[in-house]
């Protein structure tokens, strides 16, 4: 079974440029998460989807970040315009059920390492 697939693996852009990340969760997983991980830190939740509905986007910087999950499957996270402080690894995760109390936890993708110069 394929895991959570993310692309691109790496991205280097100049500040003020737009960037987009794509995530394909595990088939059948209704819940999808986008996390940001800064160097030496734990993942920080940006947004959580239940099917195609964003149920928690309280930590998404909405002035420059946007996300969508069309048809409740793939998801895209966009930053426009990017700032130097956005450099981080952007992780996508999925789980079978709603919320953290799931027997098999979250399955993470390998992430997209973004460098803004």
């Amino acid at each position: 079974e394929a895991g959570v697939v993310q692309s691109p693996r790496y991205k280097i852009i100049e500040k003020k440029q737009p960037v987009a990340f794509w995530c394909n969760p595990i088939s059948g997983h209704n819940t999808l998460y986008w996390y940001r991980q800064n160097l030496g830190q734990g993942p920080e939740l940006l947004i959580r989807y239940e099917n195609e509905e964003a149920v928690d986007d309280s930590q998404l910087p909405k002035d420059r970040f946007s996300a969508e999950r069309l048809k409740g499957v793939d998801s895209t996270l966009k930053i426009q315009p990017a700032e130097l402080g956005d450099s981080a690894v952007y992780l996508c995760a999925s789980s079978l059920d709603f919320g953290p109390r799931v027997d098999y936890g979250y399955t993470f993708g390998s992430g997209t390492r973004l460098t803004v110069v």
């Binding site: 830190q41 734990g42 920080e44 939740l45 953290p100 936890g105 993470f108």
Partner: protein
Amino acid sequence: QQPVQSPQAMILREGEDAVINCSSSKALYSVHWYRQKHGEAPVFLMILLKGGEQKGHDKISASFNEKKQQSSLYLTASQLSYSGTYFCGTESGSNYKLTFGKGTLLTVNP
């Protein structure tokens, strides 16, 4: 509220045991444990739910002390493959949100 992990880093010899702690200032509903190797995705180890249970598989186990609002991860007879950064993720409150600690970097040497 971000949980506090301790220690921040530790170095072991192969075969030694380790304990990693995760504490919260709020009541916990669930605790997840993950291991992340450099440049890779975090990998789920186990989940503990409110109720003070202990879980384990192979030589890795964890406990959840509801009263102390903390969880501990136990690594027994460590192997080289145990090296990596261990994160706890805690759910406190009813918002179904998992918040991760800053991680504990474990290095196991031959």
